[in-house]
């Protein structure tokens, strides 16, 4: 009972010295004002509705929408990924797994010494923040606008390198094949290689 605080009188506290202010309470609106709501719903019937008939009609996303990743290629078809694992280190959700590998004369996947031998993105973990894309030193990893990433098995949502690699476009050769004759990996990096060289095809 020692720590009991004797309640003080309101007069001591000065509660009642707070001036009384009458607040304007809005009363019921006039009937016509209330009836306006009926016009809102009625006129809405004749407006264009906003529903997207999704599986039938796919509305385009915003241009920079963060969708599924893509591993890009150089114009001659070599992979841009050099297996540096910076994307994996940048990933806050620990969704990316990379194993680097050495490029050998018979197995040249990317320009320079190293390539990404194993590349996995786990879409059960990915939060599509795009930090991996920012981290990538060679612009190998970017994001597409593809958002239909649902499946019936967990395993199917771990995307392998084959699933992520960009398709071969015009003038590209499927790796492994040697680098463009006379070009170094720095030339590749600077964008000096514009297309595949016929000799690359032969030596493949």
């Amino acid at each position: 009972m020692t720590d009991f605080i004797e309640p003080r009188k309101n007069s001591e506290l000065g509660i009642n010295s707070v001036p009384f202010v009458e607040v304007e309470q809005p009363g019921a609106a006039p009937l016509l004002e209330q009836a306006k709501g009926f016009w809102v719903t009625f006129s809405t019937m004749f407006k264009k509705n906003q529903t997207v008939q999704y599986p039938d009609v796919k509305a385009p996303t915003a241009p920079r929408f963060h969708g599924r990743h893509q591993l890009n290629r150089h114009p001659d078809g070599l992979e841009k990924c050099i297996g540096c694992e910076l994307c994996a280190w940048a990933c806050p959700a620990d969704a990316i797994y990379v194993e680097g590998g050495d490029n050998t004369p018979g197995n040249q996947l990317s320009p320079g010494e190293r390539n990404g031998a194993v590349y996995q993105i786990n879409y059960l973990r990915c939060i599509f923040c795009g930090l991996c894309v920012e981290a990538c030193p060679t612009r190998a990893l970017t994001m597409t606008n593809e958002y239909e990433l649902a499946d019936d098995k967990r395993e199917k949502l771990i995307f392998e390198k084959d699933d992520l690699l960009a398709p071969l476009r015009q003038g590209m050769l499927a790796p492994p094949h040697p680098m463009y004759p006379g070009m170094t990996d720095t030339n590749y990096y600077n964008g000096d290689v514009k297309e595949a060289h016929p000799s690359q095809q032969e030596q493949n």
């Binding site: 605080i5 309640p7 003080r8 509660i15 009458e22 719903t41």
Partner: protein
């Protein structure tokens, strides 16, 4: 020949056929009503609504119904089994029965027989409808009670209180129609409107009161307190599943169509064409009157949808206050006025007296309403200063809390 005499000559098989037709109309109308409601409501909310089953999603409610019927039927262990099963049957059967006295067409040729699409014509037809719909309330109460669960019980009691209160207002609004038409038979009321003008015009206050109370009566938004999802889970039918739930669902919609049909019959001239379009009544051998009937019923159904899309749900006490303190006294006053006018007319009072009476009523109303307004303005006396409030005050940095319940003084 009156409709009652016409229907009296129906052979048994025609009556059976008509009963079947009425049943089919109710069920098909329900299916269409569910679809229409979902589409129109969606339109009012910038959505599309169901559009995948059949053309424009027309078969959506049918497939929903089939799905519902095929679901597992659960009877809770705490339920009173017999009553639990009987309740939805009562609710549904009574709604269908209300349709028996609604005249849906004029004189038509039904399988080579001259008759009207009206199952039977009672001299107390409208009273019969009120009676039957009241019995429908038993379905709701019993469903709530027999579920053996708290929320259904609350929902059931709310529903019954609601339906009973609004039935009084509804019944009173119909009295003016009876006085005016001089009969309670639906077909006679329709005929009397055909000879004069629609009751919706002459008895406008009754019409408005009926419109409001029919929404209350059918437990629909904004008066759907009994099924307030946020408060009572699902109301009286929380424990129902499968076909029994489907029956309640059916009952709700048949009930809506029934009150709409009654409104059409009593206030909008029934199956007759609007003034000026009387020639259409002869089209298709008189069957075109059915189109007029359906159109008018749909007009009321649209009002139901419109209300649901626009208004938020009322609080229970507001709702009851509105029913008992506004609708019922309003109805009573209006009935007094109508009755007085009617008697004056029948006794051949001259026009000046009638106008004087009407003017007197209007003046009286204005006086009363201005008094009400004045009484409203004196509100909220300011707190008297210097008195200690006897409620606890929370602690603030510069204030200590006041203990009201314990401690020493």
């Amino acid at each position: 020949m009156t409709t009652a005499e016409l229907l009296g000559k129906d052979p048994g098989w025609i009556i059976a056929v008509k009963a079947l037709i009425v049943f089919i109309i109710c069920v098909v109308a329900t299916l269409m009503a569910v679809w229409t409601e979902r589409r129109v409501l969606a339109k009012m909310q910038l959505r599309t609504g169901p559009n995948r089953v059949g053309k424009f999603g027309l078969l959506q409610s049918l497939s929903d119904g089939v799905k519902l019927a095929l679901k597992e039927d659960i009877i809770p262990a705490a339920a009173d089994k017999v009553v639990f099963i009987i309740a939805p049957i009562i609710a549904t059967a009574m709604c269908f029965m209300a349709f028996a006295v609604i005249p849906m067409t004029g004189v038509v040729n039904l399988f080579g027989h001259q008759t009207a699409l009206q199952l039977t014509d009672l001299p107390v037809g409208v009273l019969y409808i009120l009676a039957v719909t009241s019995i429908g309330v038993y379905g709701v109460v019993l469903a709530g009670w027999s579920s053996g669960s708290t929320y259904p019980l609350l929902g059931g009691l709310r529903s019954s209180a609601q339906v009973i209160s609004y039935e009084i207002a509804m019944g009173l609004s119909l009295v003016a129609v009876f006085i005016y038409a001089g009969s309670m038979s639906t077909s006679v009321i329709v005929d009397s409107q055909h000879q004069n003008i629609w009751n919706a015009v002459v008895l406008f206050p009754s019409f408005i009161i009926y419109l409001i109370s029919m929404v209350g009566e059918t437990n629909r938004a904004p008066f759907d307190l009994a099924e307030a999802e946020g408060e009572l889970v699902g109301g009286f039918h929380t424990e129902y599943s499968s076909l029994k739930f489907a029956l309640f669902f059916l009952a709700e919609y048949v009930n809506i169509i029934a009150v709409s049909a009654l409104a059409t019959t009593l206030f909008l001239g029934g199956y007759h064409a609007p003034p000026g379009l009387g020639f259409t009544e002869q089209w298709f051998g008189g069957w075109f009157t059915f189109i007029w009937f359906i159109t008018k019923v749909n007009l009321f159904f649209f009002i139901f949808m419109w209300l649901r899309a626009t208004l938020p749900r009322l609080r229970y006490d507001q709702f009851m206050k509105f029913g008992w303190k506004v609708l019922i006294p309003g109805s009573l006053v209006w009935i007094l006025i109508v009755a007085t006018l009617r008697v004056l007319q029948q006794q051949g009072a001259n026009r000046a007296v009638i106008i004087a009476f009407a003017a007197g009523v209007v003046l009286l109303m204005m006086a009363v309403s201005s008094l009400v307004d004045r009484s409203k303005k004196v509100s909220g006396e300011p707190l008297t200063e210097g008195e200690d409030p006897d409620f606890p005050v929370p602690s603030l940095p510069h204030l200590r809390s006041i203990s009201v319940s314990g401690g020493q003084k």
